[in-house]
């Protein structure tokens, strides 16, 4: 995973709450077996509408998505994070993220920054009044800056550390392999195994 320290890019105001992962990437695009190449799938249904914000310059070159509360609800599809990244987004700001989406973002180096809704409203106004305004998201100081607005954001310390260091989760866990083996030796015999298969 690439390290994330700070990012500056065009902010995209998405004035909508409950942006679920079916909107971020409709199910039909989940049939692919690759981990990249999902840029065309991002908000595919909404992008058919020419007035949708990502169809308008300069927002089509945006990299900081500023969304309403409860972003990323619904399906666990990590494809939602891949699609946002493939389109060019580096970070999403929202006052509330769905848990699974937030977790998936952290695994993939997309910064899900929790910003108070009052600050989101101020940033929306700034971005709408002056389209193309850049937003800086600084993971070191945990602040967002947009025009004259400077706002703090929340992220859990562990995810922040992993993003700052660009650490791979599996590599971290495998350092504790002896602990896993020791735990396995204590599991009771009544716990089920899928193999050998027992059938009805």
């Amino acid at each position: 995973m690439e390290k994330f320290t700070t990012h500056t890019g065009i902010g995209v105001p998405l004035r909508q709450s409950n942006v679920d992962t079916d909107q971020i990437i409709p199910a039909v695009y989940l049939k692919r077996i690759t981990r990249t190449g999902f840029e065309d799938a991002l908000f595919a249904a909404w992008r058919k509408d020419p007035s949708f914000i990502l169809n308008q310059a300069p927002f089509n070159a945006g990299s900081v998505l500023v969304a309403g509360p409860d972003f990323g609800t619904g399906s666990s599809r990590e494809h939602a994070v891949w699609a946002l990244k493939d389109f060019g987004f580096k970070t999403v700001l929202s006052s509330r993220f769905a848990d699974i989406f937030r977790g998936n973002s952290g695994k993939q180096g997309l910064l899900a920054a929790e910003v108070a809704q009052d600050d989101i409203e101020l940033i929306w106004k700034e971005l709408e009044n002056a389209p193309g305004t850049e937003v800086t998201v600084d993971l070191v100081s945990k602040t967002v800056q947009c025009g004259n607005i400077v706002a703090p954001f929340e992220i859990d310390d562990y995810t922040r550390w992993r993003l700052l260091e660009g650490l791979d989760d599996i590599g971290l866990t495998l350092k504790h392999e002896p602990d896993i083996t020791a735990y396995e030796a204590t599991r009771p015999s009544f716990k089920p195994k899928t193999l050998p298969a027992r059938l009805s």
Partner: protein
């Protein structure tokens, strides 16, 4: 120290406590007892294992099936959609390469991954269960800690049989009282989501408690736990009891002999201690609950079936007001319209929420001896090939076919329309599934989430209806309205 059920299951699976304390605490490393795999969220994870030459650590705790892409017609023919066919073939190749047990289309144990685990007896109390699918919360009905995960975590579990997890908060959902006839588990969970909202459960594990929950069957408990994710929760669970044990006993992978006794002794400890405290408690009155239905485009936008379509002005919060306006426009609804005046084009009975034997029986009991509204198309999709076989053994297929419904093969089907079962633009559906998002069941499709008995009554009348709206059936003695 007094603990909640969820905390007990968590503590029993800690491989390694995270370093640090308080705000700087690292996540605990938890052992995963069962990893369920399907074709959509696994290919990139298998590829991630393959590239650095990593092994699948525990094939014997992993099981795969095909469900999201699978057609529900002509299952003996090659899958027509080439990308679907490729994705399923990729799962088959990966399972062979990594030694994973797979139940493919055509196999008697194939079906929706969350129906297959419990029916095989692989889902048991006190386990940690994960799957690259948000509705993994279903398995919480057994008192398991069951969570949906993304593909990176799928790969992590494949490589290590563990997950790094941050502690959660606990929420009790207390449902006391007795459900009235025609009111079911689906109505409980839709009412809970309407009450706490789609973000109300974020960061929490929900425990469903109270006399109304204890009175529910295992399949009904699965319906409730299934939709915990729709309230934003990480997981939802119900403490195991005699109902749980009776359901489990004799299933293929249930413990046997001395193992069964040891298991029950352990399972009996899996309840929230009397003096344990939840972070939040929410109460719901089962006595006054009515059949519930959604009017909008998120599962929290629901009302009693006897109510009217709300107005955006009913919402104080600006975001909720804007969301309601947008939802009404998408759904093609006018504020103030009685919900029961809304005509539907399609009824879908299926999905990991409501596709088990009890769901099919409850719907069949409503339609038996009645006639379907000729303008309505009804699709019945059993949750698994095994459910389909059992239903046919009971003659339920005949009841559905005589009524004019389509009796299909097992899979996720129209819940998310990854296979050919989709709504047309503007088509309106009463669906027993779990999500009414824009375009979820097909581009431009409009979804009303309902229980199996409401779905069945709606198919009879053509408008959103509860069983109590129906005229007596010609052979009304045969009608039995089970809470499912």
């Amino acid at each position: 120290m007094a603990k909640t059920l969820a905390e007990k299951v968590w503590d029993a699976h800690v491989v390694r406590k995270g370093d640090g304390e308080g705000a700087n605490a690292q996540p605990d490393l938890l052992f995963i007892d069962l990893h369920l795999v399907h074709e959509v969220t696994s290919p990139q994870a298998f590829e991630g294992l393959r590239l650095p030459g990593r092994k699948l650590r525990r094939p014997d705790l992993t099981i795969a099936t095909e469900d999201h892409n699978t057609p529900t017609l002509d299952i003996d023919k090659p899958i027509a959609d080439l990308t679907s066919r490729t994705q399923i073939q990729t799962l088959r190749n990966n399972c062979q390469e990594f030694g994973v047990r797979l139940h493919s289309l055509g196999d008697a144990e194939q079906g929706i991954v969350h129906v297959v685990g419990p029916q095989l007896g692989l889902t048991q109390p006190g386990m940690t269960v994960v799957c690259g699918d948000s509705h993994t919360s279903t398995h919480g009905a057994f008192g398991a800690l069951a969570m949906g995960i993304g593909t990176s975590e799928v790969e992590h579990v494949m490589a290590t049989q563990t997950l790094s997890l941050k502690p959660f908060k606990t929420m009790a959902i207390n449902v006391e009282g007795t459900l009235r006839p025609g009111v079911s588990a689906k109505d409980i969970i839709l009412a809970v989501i309407a009450k706490i909202g789609t973000g109300g459960g974020q960061g929490y594990v929900l425990e469903y408690r109270g006399s109304a929950i204890r009175a529910l069957s295992m399949e009904a408990r699965m319906t409730i736990c299934n939709m915990s994710i729709e309230a934003g929760a990480r997981a939802g669970l119900v403490a195991p009891d005699q109902t749980t044990y009776d359901y489990m006993h004799g299933r293929p992978h249930a413990p046997e002999g001395a193992d069964w006794d040891a298991a029950v002794e352990y399972w009996n400890t899996l309840h929230t201690d009397d003096d344990a405290a939840f972070d939040v408690e929410v109460d719901l009155d089962a006595d006054t609950l009515e059949p519930f239905v959604t009017w909008g485009t998120n599962p929290g936008q629901g009302v009693s079936l006897s109510a009217k379509v709300p107005s955006p002005d009913d919402f104080g919060d600006e975001n909720a007001k804007a969301a309601a306006e947008r939802a009404l426009q998408y759904m093609g609804l006018e504020a103030g319209t009685p919900m029961k005046d809304i005509r539907v084009d399609t009824v879908f009975l299926g999905s990991c929420t409501n596709s088990r034997m009890e769901d099919l029986r409850a719907a069949a009991d409503i339609i038996r001896g009645r006639t379907k509204d000729p303008a309505v198309r009804m699709l019945v999709v059993p949750g698994s090939a095994r459910v389909r076989l059992e239903a046919e053994a009971e003659g339920l297929d005949k009841v559905f076919k005589d009524f004019g419904a389509e009796w299909r093969f097992a899979g996720c089907s129209m819940c998310l329309g990854m296979n050919p079962d989709q709504l047309e633009v503007g088509e309106r559906c009463a669906s027993t599934s779990n999500r009414n998002f824009e375009g979820r069941q097909g581009k431009g499709g409009r979804t009303h989430l309902v229980s199996p008995v409401v779905a069945a009554a709606t198919a009879v009348r053509g408008t959103l209806s509860s069983p109590s709206d129906l005229d007596p059936a010609p052979e009304s003695a045969a009608v039995r309205v089970d809470a499912a």
